[in-house]
């Protein structure tokens, strides 16, 4: 089935996206607050300095005198490397300081400093202007004191703040991403657990799923369980139907066959006997085909969802030899067992492997002449090979690849009853287990050797 997106990926990207937005916001807020705090500090010192200068202004005779308090400028020295500029203007005349230091165009109100940021002498400076009215009230001189300072220190602080904020933001983002990954995984754990408990089941295990289900998955599991219940009901109906149908068809067929055998005994004329034999062969053929078709359906069904059990292939081969021993005995055929000297363990579906081997051995017995030997071999050199070698007629030079297709049979089957499904069954079983079948001429003379080759381990 093609997957349409991944919940985990979506969950992860969404959480990580939220984390990224939060990190950026965090960065912006942190830097803003810190820079404003640093600027505020500079502004406070600048304004204290300007106020101190303004406070030392004196009115004298017709003018204004200023004894520049050095403390006012030295307090600005706390911020390193920065240059300080000042200018005191009384009635449009620069009393002292840098005459080209721009002053604010509007005269600041008394006690209310005006701040400004501008370029001065190639550097960005922060300036504050305060004003005082000096002299008698009737004829006061308006004096404006401006103190400016470069922003090097502030920029250094700002860089440090930016670096710290970036570090914190990136750290937060990485941590949040890791947490999102974990959260996405842990949120999907119950689904994985459920998937596991469903996929581990054998093909015939249709019991309801009973793993610990989180509330969100309860409806899904309930739907799955009700679906399985319906499937179980339908399967058991099908099985009952097949059993009933087989019973209804095969029982009268058995009566007919038995009566035919009795009649055959009582008849004397060869042509009559031959007719009865024809009848019996037809019955056997229909019964065999029906059996193999059911086997084939069973193999197709089970191969889709393979049961995996630990098997001993020696034991399975021995079991099949036991089962078909009497059939071989009837034709005086000896089944020679050439098994591996220790148990051959393999993980697979025992029922399927039995079906495959039974079909191969049954074929070998059918096509073998009387008084012959069939070798059943289990070998583990290189790969696991279970082979059945007979001294029969072989496959008459038919392309061995074609023999595994449905209903294909050798070129020399003559009158032997068969449906051509036996090798198809064996081939499908082998392929379901990651192996294949090999059909070769018997290396030690006439006949054929059919092998199921399975990978080791």
């Amino acid at each position: 089935m093609k997957a349409h997106g991944s919940i985990r990926r979506r969950l992860f990207f969404q959480l990580a996206g939220v984390a990224a937005v939060l990190s950026v916001a965090f960065f912006v807020v942190l830097r803003g607050v810190a820079e404003r705090a640093a600027e505020g500090t500079q502004d406070d010192i600048l304004s204290a300095s300007a106020t101190a200068i303004a406070d030392s202004l004196r009115s004298e005779d017709q003018g204004v005198t200023l004894e520049l308090p050095y403390a006012a400028l030295s307090m600005l020295g706390t911020i390193n490397e920065d240059r300080v500029f000042y200018r005191v203007v009384a009635a449009q005349t620069t009393l002292t300081g840098y005459a080209d230091l721009p002053q604010s165009t509007t005269t600041p109100n008394l006690g209310e400093p005006i701040f400004a940021t501008f370029d001065y002498r190639g550097e960005k400076v922060r300036a504050v202007s305060v004003s005082r009215a000096i002299g008698p009230v009737s004829d006061a001189t308006n004096v404006v004191v401006t103190v400016a300072q470069t922003r090097l220190g502030l920029e250094a602080i700002s860089r440090r703040i930016t670096a710290t904020a970036t570090g914190v933001g990136v750290g937060f983002f990485l941590l949040a991403t890791a947490l999102s990954l974990w959260a996405a995984r842990s949120a999907l754990k119950p689904i994985e657990r459920m998937t596991d408990s469903v996929t581990r089941r054998g093909p015939s295990d249709l019991r309801p799923v009973e793993s610990n289900t989180p509330a969100e998955l309860v409806p899904l599991v309930a739907a799955l369980n009700s679906f399985m219940a319906r499937l179980r009901a339908s399967l058991s109906q099908t099985e009952d139907f097949i059993a009933e149908a087989a019973h209804r068809v095969r029982t009268p067929l058995a009566t007919v066959r038995t009566q035919a055998e009795i009649t055959h005994r009582k008849l004397n004329k060869p042509e009559h006997k031959r007719a009865i034999r024809e009848m019996i062969r037809a019955i056997d053929e229909s019964s065999r085909s029906a059996g193999q078709m059911l086997d084939h359906a069973m193999v197709t069904f089970r191969a889709d969802s393979l049961t995996v059990d630990a098997l001993d292939l020696n034991a399975i081969m021995a079991d099949i030899c036991d089962r078909l021993g009497p059939t071989a005995d009837l034709k005086d055929i000896v089944i020679q067992r050439d098994f591996w000297n220790s148990p051959v363990t393999f993980k697979g579906d025992g029922i399927l492997i039995q079906a495959a081997l039974q079909n191969i051995l049954d074929n070998a017995i059918k096509y073998s002449p009387e008084d012959s030997t069939i070798i059943a071999r289990v070998d583990v050199s290189g790969a696991i090979t279970m082979s059945v070698t007979d001294q029969g007629r072989g496959f008459g030079g038919v392309d061995t690849n074609r023999l595994t297709t449905r209903y294909a049979r050798g070129a020399n089957v003559d009158e032997i009853v068969g449906s051509g499904l036996g090798l198809t069954i064996a081939d499908e079983v082998a392929r379901a287990h990651g192996g294949h079948i090999e059909i070769t001429p018997n290396p030690e003379g006439v006949g054929a050797c059919v092998s199921i080759v399975l990978p080791i381990g």
Binding site: I242, A243, M298, R323, L330
Partner: protein
């Protein structure tokens, strides 16, 4: 051999009874599990042939209770189902073997023989003629101090002769007994097997006579 046949289909049961009698076996027929239980209470059988679908219960429950009661009589299930999975479940329940309907009587006989051999043989597995014993379970001839192993068809052919010493059996009859009806066999196949038997019997005081135009019979030397 004495069979108990548990089968509810009367036509099939009748045919099986008649067919088994043709080969000289005794058959009691029980159409239900209840009748089967009463049969087993009063008689002992060499083998039980059991159908799975019965009117008064499932043959599988019979199998289980039969095994629980530790009865030794082997059970061969006659089933309409052929899948390997069904076979595994039947054998797990304690069936000794199974055969799928419709079945070949030679194969049924072969399976009975195999089951009995595994169990150590039926009550009358040794038959005597002159100085010679035929041991069906071991599949060998015993005379004087020698033991001769027999192949399956040789054994079955000798069983026919030992069952009625002196009686003449036609080639046709012997062929019917020896070959499955789905086998393609030629008329002289019997001559081949009689020839082999004569070789096996060399040294004993039993021989197989050709009665010209009629068939063969077993007579003392």
């Amino acid at each position: 051999m004495r069979f108990l046949l548990i089968e509810d289909n009367l036509k099939l049961a009748g045919a099986i009874e008649e067919r088994l009698r043709l080969d000289g076996h005794a058959v009691d027929h029980a159409p239900t599990l209840e009748t089967a239980a009463s049969c087993m209470a009063v008689a002992s059988y060499d083998l039980i042939l059991l159908d799975i679908m019965l009117p008064d219960g499932d043959g599988r429950t019979f199998l289980q209770s039969h095994r629980r009661a530790e009865k030794r009589t082997p059970v061969i299930v006659i089933t309409a189902r052929s899948a390997v999975s069904d076979r595994v479940s039947l054998l797990d329940l304690g069936a000794d073997d199974y055969i799928t309907k419709p079945f070949d009587f030679s194969e049924l006989e072969a399976r009975c023989r195999a089951v009995l051999r595994r169990q150590g043989g039926a009550a009358d597995n040794r038959k005597k003629f002159g100085n010679t014993y035929l041991d069906s379970a071991a599949g060998e001839l015993q005379f004087d101090d020698s033991r001769v192993n027999l192949r399956n068809r040789e054994l079955r052919l000798l069983e026919v002769f030992f069952a009625a010493p002196g009686q003449v059996f036609s080639k046709n009859h012997l062929m019917d007994r020896l070959f499955s009806l789905s086998d393609e066999v030629s008329e002289n196949a019997i001559e081949v097997y009689v020839g082999r038997l004569r070789k096996r019997l060399e040294g004993s005081d039993v021989r197989i006579d050709t009665v010209r135009g009629l068939g063969y019979r077993m007579v003392p030397l």
